[in-house]
């Protein structure tokens, strides 16, 4: 069978002064009709550049293809004129992006955006165009296409927006669909339905799909074949089952081994340990006061009761908007709870004022999601780390000494304290943030999606570090995540949150093996690659 897309020895040069010479080096692969080829790799591996090269969307003057060819049904795209490329987009090849909110025009109705594709490329009477729009919207399983045609992107949910994107991409039935992390910004249940949709559509239309992702769960779910990329090169290529169950290249093995397993780890738990932190009826409501309108109240968190013991990890799992981060922020007292109590060692801290709170602040520390924004870019990391300790009266040299020993604990060189955050990678910055939290000698450590922004290999290391730190200091760890795999590995107990309430709360093992609430069940069902045991190849 003739391939839809054939990339042959493609090299793309990076501008001078980048950390490597080529974004892509001699990349070759083929996508056949009716096939999903997954391009997997960590950030900076060149997978998105590959997609953009095919679409002819590389930033001019910065990234230049220097050798090789890209054949879309025998036509070399690298030699095609701008006009020809424009014609081919949507008719021959289409692309969908990670963030549907920014990929759609916010001031244009969804129907008009799909219509624009039709008007640009083919001549049809307005009535026929509307018919066609309705048909494609039905095909991507949008409810009430007649109504949605007149809505603006902000009126739709994330999943619906991504469906509009897919409708735009597929309305002219291109032979090739490039999907660049199309489900990364979506919740896990939405992700599952979008993946199902892409698979169904490409089967019905025999579209070739180039699916770019960093998530091996998604790969296991959707891929026919896999190309693993590292530093601009394809290091492993093969049938999905083959690659996942028997990876050959060292890098692939490392990546797959780093994927946390869905099977909860067997963890010892001291049920008699002292309860460090518990909440009772913790609630947070936001009320929007406005002139001439009645007050609108939003319940961010409703009546949450949690309990963490010393040396124990409690996971709070939920989708975006479920209120898990608000719980964390209330406990860290970055947000004031509306009602309910927070007890630290039996002492109520939820209603303390700033001054009274001061002695308790140091005992609860928090690590944030985004390692690039959690350190002040204008201060050397040493100053950031010792800031807290000096606030509580520790002399600077003593604090620096403590910082040095903590840097060793988080496996960083103690001599880099005088460097600025931009000189570190994401994983290293997250280690620095952990060190900063530890200088306070806290009893409760809150990790708010602390590993979500990291690549899977780095994620595994930081997770291990967090767990080591918990053991070493006998900390109570409050771990907030949307990722069930991560939760399975690190949490002793877990609370599942949905729509601002805790719907299920129990031992991690019990929640995973015998979920009671139907939301938990759907969450577990939706986890990509749930049936796949990634570590299997390690077994003798």
């Amino acid at each position: 069978m003739q391939p839809v897309l054939k990339i042959d020895n493609l090299s793309v040069q990076l501008p001078k002064g980048a950390d490597r010479q080529h974004a892509l080096e001699y990349v070759s692969f083929e996508v056949h009709p009716g096939e999903i080829l997954c391009l997997v790799g960590e950030s900076g591996s060149g997978k998105s550049v590959t997609g953009l090269s095919v679409m002819g969307l590389l930033p001019k003057g910065q990234l230049t293809p220097v050798s090789g060819q890209i054949l879309l049904q025998d036509e070399n795209l690298l030699e095609a004129s701008d006009e020809r490329l424009r014609d081919l987009r949507c008719t021959g090849m289409s692309m969908i992006f990670q963030e549907p909110m920014t990929a759609l025009n916010p001031v244009m109705r969804c129907g008009d955006q799909i219509d624009e594709v039709l008007r640009t490329h083919i001549r049809l009477a307005p009535k026929e165009r509307t018919q066609r729009i309705l048909r494609i919207m039905e095909e991507v399983r949008l409810p009430e296409p007649k109504r949605l045609i007149n809505t603006y992107p902000h009126q739709l949910s994330g999943g619906q927006r991504q469906r509009i994107m897919i409708a735009m991409a597929l309305v002219l039935e291109p032979v090739l669909l490039i999907a660049d992390e199309p489900t990364t910004a979506l919740d896990v249940t939405t992700q599952a339905s979008i993946l199902q949709l892409i698979r169904d559509i490409q089967r019905d239309h025999q579209t070739g799909v180039l699916f770019i992702t960093h998530d091996f769960g998604v790969v296991a779910e959707i891929a026919d074949r896999v190309a693993v990329m590292q530093w601009g090169k394809v290091v492993e290529f093969g049938e999905a089952k083959q690659v996942l169950s028997n990876p050959q290249h060292a890098y692939t093995r490392m990546l797959i081994r780093s994927v946390p397993s869905m099977t909860p780890s067997q963890r010892e738990r001291d049920a008699s340990a002292q309860v460090v932190l518990n909440t009772s009826g913790l609630s947070k409501t936001y009320s929007e006061r406005a002139f001439f309108r009645s007050t609108r109240t939003v319940h961010a968190v409703q009546k949450v009761d949690l309990e963490v013991r010393r040396g124990e990890t409690l996971g709070i799992v939920g989708e975006s908007g479920s209120g898990k981060t608000t719980v964390a922020r209330c406990i860290a007292r970055l947000t004031d709870p509306s009602s309910g109590e927070i007890f630290l060692d039996g002492k109520e801290i939820g209603r303390l004022r700033t001054g009274q709170l001061r002695p308790y602040r140091r005992r609860i520390q928090i690590i944030f999601q985004d390692p690039y924004r959690s350190l002040n870019p204008r201060r050397v990391v040493g100053d950031s780390i010792i800031e807290g300790a000096t606030n509580y009266g520790l002399p600077r040299d003593k604090a620096l000494e403590r910082a040095r020993s903590l840097m060793e604990l988080v496996q960083l060189d103690p001599n880099v304290l005088d460097r600025f955050p931009h000189q570190f990678s994401g994983g290293q910055r997250q280690r620095i943030c952990i060190a900063r939290a530890l200088t306070m000698e806290p009893e409760v450590l809150i990790a708010d999606e602390a590993v979500s922004a990291l690549d899977v290999s780095v994620q595994a290391q930081v997770l291990k570090l967090l767990d080591d730190v918990r053991k070493h200091f006998n900390l109570a760890l409050l771990f907030i995540t949307h990722d069930l795999r991560v939760a399975a590995q690190i949490c002793d107990t877990m609370a599942v949150m949905s729509q601002s309430k805790v719907v299920e709360y129990g031992l991690t093992r019990d929640v995973f093996t015998n979920p009671q609430h139907e939301y938990t069940q759907s969450l577990l069902n939706a986890a990509p690659g749930k049936g796949w045991d990634f570590g299997a190849f390690l077994a003798p």
Binding site: R253, I366, S374, R378, Q411
Partner: protein, 316 residues
């Protein structure tokens, strides 16, 4: 498992270090020197500053020396000047004389002192006051509403009218002029600073500082203030330019610096009666004024481009 797999950390360090080494090789000063707008604006301003400081040594005579015989002379007129000790020296009126026989060249040179003092003082004062108010109002939420309504009120007052009102209340003088110009500039600085504070206070590193117990004043100084410096320097140059201009306008209207002190505005105001016959009275101070304003604005643009590369990229 083979050994090389176990060292992703080491790889991370290398790539991060080399990326940092490549992307930040230059200091801010070097970047500034490379920007042509900064160079041009800076050089012109330094020349102006030197002119103002060295005014007595630049071949000038007493700018308020009245000599009715030599009134309204065209540029280039030569004559003998009798000094206080009775001796006579030859001088050339490079820019002619005005209707009272005063040397326009000397008046323009001395006038630059006033213009630059007004420009710098207004810029520094409005930034200092605006920065303080803006930081507090942006960070302390309950104060914000009150402070910003006051600022809205201040913005509703036309600057020149306020100046005229102040002049009629107090003695006309340099201090009053500076005060009258800098008050209406405050709200603009406050709004700028407040908008930056509002975005910075949501940054995780500020929240991290809160959770390690840093006090509010320290958070403002350590974490928020440094982010406002670059935009404020840029804003400062624009304020400086507009202050010089407003001072000239006020003097021209006769509500600024008293007429016995030469300022560019005063000179132009007095020269305007005979403008059609003797344009030099208006022309030379006008050229100086235009050049200074241009230099300050070009410098501001250049600073904005170097200190805020994102903006430069968008415009370029």
């Amino acid at each position: 498992m083979s050994a090389p797999e176990e060292s992703p950390i080491a790889l991370e360090v290398d790539s991060a270090a080399s990326a940092a080494a490549v992307s930040r090789p230059r200091t801010v000063l070097q970047m500034l020197v490379r920007n042509p707008s900064v160079c041009f604006g800076g050089v012109v301003l330094v020349v102006m500053l030197l002119t103002a400081l060295l005014a007595p040594f630049l071949g000038t005579i007493d700018p308020s020396n009245i000599d009715p015989i030599y009134r309204n002379k065209v540029p280039g007129t030569e004559r003998m000047l009798r000094l206080d000790d009775g001796s006579e020296v030859p001088i050339t009126h490079w820019m002619g004389t005005d209707m009272l026989g005063r040397d326009v060249y000397s008046r323009v040179i001395y006038g630059s002192q006033i213009s630059l003092v007004v420009g710098l003082a207004v810029a520094i004062l409005s930034i200092a006051v605006g920065l303080t108010i803006g930081l507090v109002s942006g960070y302390i939420r309950w104060l914000d509403g009150i402070v910003m309504r006051i600022m809205d009120g201040l913005m509703a007052i036309p600057g020149i009218l306020l100046a005229i009102a102040l002049m009629s209340l107090f003695n006309a003088g340099l201090g009053t002029v500076i005060f009258a110009i800098f008050i209406p500039e405050i709200p603009r600085v406050v709004r700028l600073v407040r908008s930056i504070v509002l975005s910075i206070r949501e940054e995780p590193y500020v929240e991290a500082a809160i959770s390690v117990g840093t006090s509010v004043p320290l958070i403002l100084i350590r974490h928020v203030l440094p982010n406002t410096i670059a935009p404020l320097i840029v804003q400062g140059t624009y304020i400086c330019a507009s202050a010089i201009l407003v001072e000239a306008i006020l003097s021209f209207l006769g509500v600024g610096i008293p007429p016995e002190i030469p300022t560019w505005g005063n000179i132009m105001a007095e020269g305007r009666m005979l403008f059609r016959v003797f344009p030099h009275n208006l022309l030379y101070p006008g050229i100086f004024l235009a050049f200074t304003i241009l230099a300050v604005n070009v410098l501001g643009d250049g600073l904005r481009d170097t200190l805020d590369p994102r903006m430069a990229k968008r415009l370029g």
